[in-house]
Subunit: 137 residues, 2 copies
DNA sequence: ATATCTGCAAATGGTTTGCGGAGGA
DNA sequence: TCCTCCGCAAACCATTTGCAGATAT
């Protein structure tokens, strides 16, 4: 573990990208975006910085299943909704408030959480009803 | 996708193992256990059956981060607690009730959820206080 | 000055899959 | 019988890592 962290161009760009999207992108997507600013950047660097930024509490990796990890520029505890049809991940207000305070749960000390709802999203529900309208026409 | 599922010895053993543990084991662990009953079983078969059983709604794969997937013999929606120190996963009652009914969340149709709390578990908290006791002695 | 960071490319490791034979229904 | 399932081993693919040079502080 290094003692002092350097704010390299790569790290700044990666953080910027995550801060400026409401999606919950994969490392690969971040890499593609970053190349627009730093054509020489490598995927390994993206992964290294994603982990570094997560360790610093700047971003968060989501546990939502699927082949590749998703990252969230908002590191505050909040709930997500993942569409089982298109794999989009949405932020939701969620029913929980942690208030930054660890709390006791059955003897365990809870310091954070990930709440993921699964189902079919607005987007895909609309598509479904469009299809139905067409077939009824 | 096959039309009729066969209840093979392998599938029965794998399901049995998951039903009879309160842990949330990895595929590898299930494989090791299964070998005690079926020495010839292969890891590929374990994975195939875990997916099959999940598709049938018999078991559930957990999204809790970490290198390898965890499986849960209880497929009903419920919350988990994962220790950040020892990686154990505990069942918890959790604050949510879905009642088997999909509900609307900001326009999305929610059919299931995964809620994972993170923190330090009873077990590790005890270890900590034991250490402290020793150093104070 | 110097220790951290980067690009590159190879290694890793959990998971998946093609194949030919086995075995449930 | 026959079609699904198995064991085996190779393939896959997201992620990690060793190295030598670059760079932030």
């Amino acid at each position: 573990m290094p003692k002092v962290r350097r704010m390299t161009r790569q790290r700044r760009v990666i953080l910027e990208i995550l801060r400026n999207t409401k999606d919950h992108p994969t490392a690969e997507w971040v890499y593609e975006q970053a190349k627009a600013h730093l054509p020489e950047i490598s995927l390994g660097t993206v992964y290294r910085n994603l982990h570094l930024l997560e360790a610093e509490g700047e971003i968060r990796e989501l546990d939502c299943g699927g082949a590749s990890g998703r990252y969230d520029g908002n590191s505050l505890d909040h709930a997500h909704f993942k569409c089982l049809e298109c794999d989009r991940i949405y932020d939701t207000a969620g029913p929980l408030e942690l208030n930054g305070q660890p709390f006791d749960l059955e003897g365990h000390m809870v310091s954070s959480y990930q709440l993921v709802f699964y189902g079919v999203c607005r987007h895909c529900l609309n598509k479904r009803s469009e299809k139905q309208d067409n077939s009824q026409r």
